[in-house]
């Protein structure tokens, strides 16, 4: 069942790089999709279709001066982006992306680490990741950044509750906290997005909020707070924050795929990871579509939605599911 340590290492290495590549091209996709929705072309100068744009961005970010405010708290200021990008990357380790393969004499599983409490790990890591944003905003010693990190703090904490409650139904139905088990369960029964539709909606909305994506991008609302918690960041430190944010978004989408859409399983061909990727992109597209269409919420409205709409909905959903699961 468990792989030898070096296989895990190779997988981890591959996954991290794939994830980074995905992050890089996610920025490209986002720009392209947004552009098309806004009657523009998007990046199309660097390489064919602008495909080298992410690399150009990377080079730019690395070469750019890493601005450092004189009154910033140095260790925390530098550590914050590193921390948030690390937790974001780490969270992906428990997401199963394939059924597992038999290569030569080893069985290779479809995830880096199959933990019985994978879901808890993900939530734990994402809760930790918040500290990166909060500390980063606070350590910058800037009013905009401070406001941004305050917003992050409140928003993330609020929505994490709803997010967790939203998956309770799935956990109940899957009867496991292991993501692999949940996927297998879906494969053997049905995908959970149907029975858990309320859970899915709450999960998705809370997920958008959790990843600071529009219309919940209040922590970095550019027209209000300049750039929120990362106002004072530039160069690769800023890049790390961006990376954390995008990887979080990917992780969340992957989690949604895993929890509600049967993970790597597909209706026709057993394509494994390809199915997984395809579903992942559909959900990511939703993120972008939201950004292109909706205005930003206001802070108090955001809190209201979080506590008064999402949380009750998620709770009722969980209770009803529990009742049904017990009853059936």
């Amino acid at each position: 069942m468990t792989d030898p340590w070096w296989i895990s290492l190779i997988k981890a290495f591959l996954i991290i790089n794939l994830l980074l590549l995905l992050f890089a091209y996610m920025t490209w996709v986002e720009r392209k999709v947004l552009a098309r929705m806004q009657l523009r072309y998007g990046p199309n100068r660097v390489g064919p279709f602008g495909l080298l744009q992410p690399i150009a961005d990377l080079i730019k970010l690395i070469r750019k001066e890493s601005f450092f405010p004189a009154s910033a708290v140095d260790v925390l200021y530098i550590a914050a982006p590193v921390f948030s990008s690390f937790t974001a990357l780490a969270a992906f380790s428990v997401i199963p992306f394939g059924p597992g393969w038999h290569i030569w004499k080893w069985n290779v599983s479809g995830e880096v680490a199959n933990l019985p409490i994978a879901l808890v790990v993900i939530f734990a890591l994402s809760s930790l990741g918040i500290y990166g944003f909060i500390v980063g905003g606070w350590a910058s010693d800037s009013k905009y950044a401070l406001l941004g990190s305050m917003r992050t703090c409140a928003q993330m904490v609020s929505y994490e509750v709803s997010l967790t409650f939203a998956v309770l139904g799935v956990v109940l139905m899957g009867q496991s906290l292991s993501l692999v088990d949940i996927v297998q369960k879906q494969a053997s029964t049905f995908w959970f997005f149907g029975p858990q539709f309320v859970g899915l909606v709450v999960f998705f909305v809370a997920g958008v909020a959790e990843t600071n994506r529009p219309p919940f991008d209040l922590p970095e609302a550019d027209t209000e707070l300049v750039a929120g918690y990362h106002t004072e960041y530039s160069g690769m430190r800023f890049g790390l924050f961006q990376m954390g944010e995008y990887v979080n978004m990917i992780t969340l989408s992957a989690l949604a795929v895993t929890l509600f859409f049967g993970g790597w399983y597909g209706p026709w061909a057993p394509l494994g990871p390809l199915w997984f990727l395809l579903k992942l992109f559909v959900i990511l597209f939703l993120f972008l579509w939201l950004r292109a269409t909706l205005p930003r919420l206001r802070y108090d409205q955001l809190m209201r939605v979080g506590w008064k709409v999402l949380l009750p909905a998620a709770t009722i959903n969980a209770v009803v599911t529990a009742a049904l699961v017990v009853a059936l």
Binding site: A35, R36, M37, L39, R40, Y41, N44, W289, T293, L294
Partner: protein, 166 residues
């Protein structure tokens, strides 16, 4: 709090999604240069007569007309061995400070000899302000970068009434 039909909120998604299939409106600028209309007022040009003499006589009317005071003309007298323009005087120095110019075209209106016109070039950015002071040689030279002009017959003024009736 809730107003109208909540489904209406979703209409907006249709609007954004629809655009994906439309042709983008942005222009791929350096490769594609949108034709300007014939009246477009861009970079100035000084003209010469067919016999090679400059049309400009250095009268400074353009400088007087310029609301931004960006034209400097220093005139001198034509001599037998140095004949530059058709009249008695010519512009020894003719400079336009493009960084001040507001492209109002008053210089063009003011010039009694049609010596200066505002052309169709709009690609006049430079890295240094000094380079934006155009000298006579630059203004007399044939513009290097060409910008297409929309159909002159279609988009330009019909024959003025006073010309028809005189």
């Amino acid at each position: 709090m809730a107003r109208g039909n909540p489904i209406d909120s979703v209409k907006g998604f249709g609007v954004t999604f629809k655009q994906i299939f439309k042709k983008p409106i942005t222009q791929q600028y350096p490769e594609y240069k949108r034709p300007v209309y014939p009246r477009f007022r861009g970079r100035h040009r000084l003209h010469v007569h067919e016999n090679g003499l400059e049309k400009c006589v250095g009268c400074s009317l353009c400088a007087a007309a310029c609301p931004a005071d960006c034209i400097r003309v220093v005139a001198a007298e034509n001599t037998a061995d140095n004949r530059v323009s058709a009249g008695e005087r010519y512009a020894r120095i003719y400079e336009i400070n493009m960084s001040r110019c507001i492209f109002c075209g008053y210089c063009e209106l003011a010039c009694p000899f049609d010596a200066i016109t505002l052309g169709n070039e709009y690609e006049i950015s430079e890295y240094s302000r000094d380079d934006l002071i155009y000298t006579k040689d630059m203004l007399l030279a044939e513009p290097i970068k060409k910008v297409p002009v929309a159909d002159r017959d279609l988009y330009d003024t019909p024959i003025p009434y006073y010309q028809e009736h005189s």
